[in-house]
């Protein structure tokens, strides 16, 4: 998650609260940077709905 790009739309923590949370300003905080396989679609959903394109899902990062 690119914190410099986040402006607090809040789409990620609404659509995927298992992975994302929010700070005091309502900006994104990644609660679970290593996403378990069963939550990967949710991570993608959040990325696909971030107007700032601040979220990146890297399928190769998982060992």
């Amino acid at each position: 998650m690119d914190a410099a790009a986040c402006v607090g739309h809040g789409r990620c923590y609404v659509l995927a609260p298992e992975i994302f949370g929010d700070d005091e300003r309502g900006h994104c905080v990644v609660a679970k940077p290593e996403v378990p396989a069963h939550l990967e679609p949710k991570a993608r959903l959040a990325a696909d709905n971030c107007p700032e394109r601040a979220i990146h899902v890297d399928p190769d990062a998982r060992r």
Partner: protein
Amino acid sequence: MSDAVPNPNPETGMVNLFDAEYARCPQPVYRALRSQCPVARQVFGNGPVLSRYEDVIWALRHPEIFSSAMDLQIKLGTERPMIPQQIDPPAQTRYRKILDPRFSRKRMAEIEPDVRRHAGELIDRFIDRGECEFDHEFAVPLPCHAFLSLMGLPQSELGHFLAIKDDIIRPHMKSLDLEEMGRIRERAGHGIYEYFGRVVDERRRAPGDDLVSYLCQAEIDGERLTRNEILDICFLMILAGLDTVTATLGCNVAFLASNPAHREQLVRDPALIPGAVEELLRWETPVTGVPRVVKREVEIHGATLKPGELVTLLIGASNTDEGEFSDPELVDFARERNRHVAFGSGPHRCLGSHLARMELEVALEEWHRRIPEYRVKPGELPRYSPGIREVQYLPLVWDRRA
């Protein structure tokens, strides 16, 4: 209707964004703009208009080229720029740091029960009548009630604020003379400064838990806000807080009243409502465009924008761009990928977006729970205002309970 001249005119690249047909149904205009004139010019004032998704978000994210410091170009009856909307980063960022927490999703969830109760009370007033005029009986009072609660003001002030807000946003309802419109706005602006000046003085003496009291105590880098800074924030709250959710509610319900298959989806499965709110924000985009001032010469698609020009970033057009959205003219409440920018993008992302979303979701939930089947009154047509697309006349009917 605007005779035979197409809007936009592909020959001249001119577009009329104040046309009544455009206000009612802007999507065909958007499509023509994106494909035929990605840098159009407005019939009124000749300002450039950007419509493609990539161009609009690029401009929104580059405030050093597309500035919000336009209080001198756009006369809204203010004596100084509205904070934080009409100032640029980095000063703007410092204000957002103290304002954002007051409008976070968590905080808005705290006032949700109050908004829901008020929505129910409004519906109680007309449900047995079997009809209502949606704008003035529901879409106007619901967000105004929330605004007055947040500001800690008595509900009896509602009429006063609505009159001021209309004088500033729609002075053309009273006069079409440019100078007279300016005077109407100035008078209303004076009224805002005077009224909130008294409120600020009172809250400094006896603070409550409302936004004005919070602003009286908030600090930026260890310093309290000045009285003028607080007034410049309050000015924006009136303009932003009283009109946009009203317009969005009207656009959404007008769409649902005319599209029974979509309406039935929400009645059958209320869990679709949050997705429907996003999709209708995308499709209807009631705040169709936002202005910016060009700071330095820039070339886009072979057209030159000159410093000082007032450019319109047509976020409504970008929200139906086939380059970004699959099947953009299909209204799909289960759309998986929806990066709409109805609340803007970049540093000026709508401060009230979480309040707006909550109000819109609560309104659609309560309405469809109580009045699942409704339609536009036969023989009548909803009336949309240009600029911010408020459906100022939306007569609805439904079958009365036996």
